[in-house]
Symmetry: C2
Subunit: 580 residues, 2 copies
């Protein structure tokens, strides 16, 4: 592209930005200390110095088309001056200044109708904090307005007894208080802003997928794509809220939006970073033609392509990112590196930084066809990282409980429902088969006639709940499969259950003879085995692993019949019947 940009900061985010810039022919001039990570991957001529030094920033501005940042702790005074002199700065110094002061950031978001945690200005003495405690309740968070990151500058005030220590720990800093967020899960969404102007309608913003983030010691430890067990609807709401938040800011670029999903299902924005973000590293592999780094480059240069529905999709179903933090020894991380390299679906990203205890020195991204597959690949690495953490903290590995990884249950792909619990006996062999094929399912009861609303809610939310196929069993005037099919675009398999009259013909015809427009995939009467196998075939049409299981089932069935044939030929029909 023959373009040159100036970057304030040369850490790992700058490094990955440069790695994205090289193939695009974009020249990045980095302002940071000598030998900083970003300079290691671009042989160009950089500037040595501090990204908070106004003179160095001015020197950088002279050499490039525009300035951008990989860290928000920069001098916005000089950026404002430069902007007034006509230098382009992306995102705007105004956005960086607003974000630098977390209280200002929260007030800005509130003013723009973006839900955030309730925040209060504080009088930073004991009386003032007692007052706040009454207002927000205990516990609350006492936070530095500025220069706070990775948990530094935050103090959880659990009771009035903590106030003294909190004030001592955060002395000489401008403070504010935040209501305690009793969240169910932390989510994050990367958002690209492509227009200079602010927008209250998210115009000019594009969202990456929502991800789940796990923090340890207030530092991001793990990122899960997609968030585990969270309905697609909420993931979309998180994207929308993140777009709205970023739309309210000035200038262009990529933004990391951290959110809390509360227990009541509400979403609030926690905070925003005006740059690539730890929670967006996964995009390098999951969005291989548009990583967060490429989108920062293209958006600030005004070259971001259009994306349908303002969403940058992931090309893979699931990913997990694990940060590598420096261990007790400089070589503590060697084992985790080696183990990561031995995983076929893993990418190792080392930042070329000297290892220090707790320092972010690299990360690992694992991609997979499901989150449970990604978890089983990543699980040994998470254990290793847990050991490194315990060792760093000086814990005795033998006596201290290991960092517990609770494997998330596999997301169910098949929803199985029935009109009545009396149908369960018929479904049992099919459910057992799904289990033995290792296909996760969810089983429930939704009567078309006795719980019509529940049945419709179940069917119409099936896509958002991540199901891919539905099995519905019913007998008599068997309306359930057809009614479910009328309320979902998913394939519905109908199992006619034989009732007390008509030998099941009533159920069969009620299920199979659907009118034009609403198909039910009907299997034979009482044959839940075939319903389960059909579900497996449907999933297997786009998932080779499941298709191989269907093939193996068929091969095993053939073996069984061949064995019987051999025996019959060997011992003759009479003995065969006798011994059966």
């Amino acid at each position: 592209m023959n373009r040159t940009i100036g970057l304030l900061g040369g850490g790992q985010l700058g490094q990955m930005l440069c790695e994205a810039a090289n193939p695009l022919g974009i020249n990045v001039v980095v302002l940071d200390q000598e030998n900083s990570p970003a300079k290691r991957v671009t042989a160009g001529s950089h500037i040595n110095g501090s990204f908070t030094d106004p003179e160095k920033i001015r020197e950088l501005a002279k050499r490039v088309e525009l300035l951008t940042v990989e860290i928000e702790h920069v001098d916005t005074e000089v950026l404002e001056e430069l902007a007034n002199e006509g230098v382009e700065i992306q995102p705007s110094w105004k956005t960086i200044r607003t974000i630098q002061d977390k209280f200002l950031q929260k007030s800005h978001l509130e003013k723009n109708g973006v839900s955030t945690a309730v925040s209060k200005e504080v009088v930073a003495d004991e009386a003032g904090l007692q007052e706040i405690g009454k207002e927000l309740g205990f516990p609350f968070m006492l936070k530095s307005r500025k220069d706070a990151y990775d948990g530094r500058g935050n103090f959880p005030v659990k009771s009035p007894a903590d106030i003294k220590e909190a004030l001592e720990t955060l002395k000489n800093r401008a403070l504010y208080a935040e209501k305690w967020a009793n969240f169910r899960m932390e989510l994050a969404v990367m958002v690209v802003k492509t227009e200079d102007a602010t927008s209250t309608e998210s115009i000019g913003t594009i969202a990456y997928p929502a991800v789940e983030t796990i923090h340890e010691d207030s530092v991001c430890k793990l990122v899960y794509l997609p968030p585990r067990g969270i309905p697609i609807k909420i993931q979309k709401q998180a994207q929308d809220l993140a777009r709205k938040a970023v739309g309210s800011l000035w200038g262009k670029g990529v933004f990391g939006v951290e959110l809390f999903l509360m227990h009541d299902g509400k979403l609030v924005v926690n905070e925003i970073a005006p740059r690539p973000h730890n929670s967006g590293h996964y995009t390098i592999e999951a969005c291989p033609t548009m990583s967060q780094y490429k989108s920062q480059l293209l958006s600030i240069l005004g070259n971001m392509p259009n994306f349908a529905n303002s969403v940058i999709p992931s090309v893979i179903p699931a990913a997990i990112m694990l940060n590598i933090l420096g261990g007790r020894e400089e070589t503590s991380h060697n084992e985790i590196m080696e183990r990561a390299i031995a995983i076929p679906n893993a990418s190792l990203h080392m930042y070329g930084k000297q290892s220090k205890p707790g320092r972010k020195i690299g990360h690992i991204t694992v991609v997979a066809s499901s989150i449970s597959e990604a978890e089983s690949l990543m699980s040994p690495l998470i254990t290793l990282a847990g050991n490194m953490h315990a060792e760093r903290k000086g814990h005795d590995l033998n006596s201290v409980p290991q960092h517990q990884i609770i494997p998330s249950p596999s997301h169910p792909l098949v929803a199985v429902t029935m009109g009545s619990d009396s149908d369960l006996a018929v479904l049992k062999p099919g459910l057992a088969l799904l289990q033995s094929l290792d296909i996760p399912f969810h089983c429930t009861i939704t009567s078309a006639h006795r719980t019509p609303q529940r049945m419709m809610d179940f069917a119409s939310s099936a896509v958002d709940n991540g199901f891919k196929v539905i099995i519905a069993a019913a007998g008599g005037a068997a309306h359930l499969p057809g009614m479910v099919a009328a309320c979902t675009p998913l394939p519905v398999i109908g199992v006619p259950v034989k009732g007390s009259s008509l030998d099941g013909m009533d159920s069969l015809l009620s299920i199979v003879q659907m009118p034009r427009g609403v198909p039910v995939a009907t299997v034979s009467i009482n044959n839940s085995i075939n319903a389960a196998l059909l579900a497996a075939r449907i999933l297997g049409a786009s998932d080779e692993t499941i298709r191989f299981k269907v093939e193996k089932y068929a091969a095993d069935s053939q073996e069984e019949v061949l064995g019987k044939a051999d025996r019959l030929e060997e011992i003759g029909f009479a003995k065969y019947l006798e011994k059966k």
Copy 2:
């Protein structure tokens, strides 16, 4: 990984190798001219000089753990000496020397049971070539044994009249002759070799997917993943043959294997490159955790992970790679760069080389959910590249026919079959619906009773032919759907066709009442619309675009009924019936 390797050559392949090495913490010391592309992306200390200079190669060897290449035109004498002195060279100098001499390469492959084009030693004078022409037939290819690439060093001898010019063009070179390969398609497979020893059973080799390559002026122009219209079975055969070929060589590393698919379906190896290859660039995006560059690094260092079935799968369904060759002017390629950047699913890779007419200066990879989607994204860029080519060749763009892009038909996802052409009338509405939903299908006749073998062949090859769902219609003793289901792991939708007796009940029960183990997804009698919609729902379970179409169909149906309801309420039942 804290490891250091030495690279002979610093062109674009070396550049992308360094881009893969940086995040792994692998240090690459490059031997090539100052400012070569690979040096641009790594700030380390490199060696300036020629990768054919024995002194420089020795200097490099002293600084690194092992030597590797990004180009095969290196000095193998000094590599052999170094190997004897204990320096590790990957792949072996023996492999590089064998490959450098194309005649030696072909003889080696033949000796190891790998099919190649028939090659003959030649006496390089008119009589000798006359003799060869009689033996191989005209046309044949006269080729340099060494230093030939991108078509340089090849001369097609179409008739005896060409012999003089051929000898003049290739004078002072060691030559051999090759039988003309009248191929249907050129394929390529990247193969990773993880063991030092040679193997006749492909042990220690891993294959990337097979791709289709299109050459222009003997230079690779386009790469298609997967190859268009080629059965999966042949793609697997290509992977197997490529693995066998690479298994016969010495040492570790990544290899590009070019093959011809002949008109009779046979595969022959054309030639092998002992390094990353133009036909493997797509792996950067399609295999985002294991590009060909990463696999070269890990294999030569002995750290390549294991892959199931010895195959590195693509995580995306389709990709196209287009090379950017320098145009007539130094700025001719600016437009294609800009257009590439404007495509959301495209990655631009510029090599930082000065543009010269015909020089490879970059490439573009587009990824998509189908090859036809990739084609429609890439098509304008291919036209631009065609214009650049014509301009470079001095053709008048207005008078010379443009480079023609024949869009490949979409690969059919649904196979529709019937027991007799009398069923076609019943299937017609369903086929029309598939068309209107833009779901590609293949329609045929396979009678279970009159063409049993054909029916079984059809069903058992359906997966290899890329189908995801089968619709089978039959009437009376309607065995077709069930028999098809017995011969494939794919979901089979059965359409009972109403015959002259029993009102269709015979067909329905013959199709739906399948025994345990072999399900048929049965729809109502004569209802091909529902069969088509069920196929769409099955595809839509894993393809959002198709699911949206199913949702739209349902919404349209609802609209239609609501319109009728309005009208009925407005004009009353009597008038409504009158006007109908």
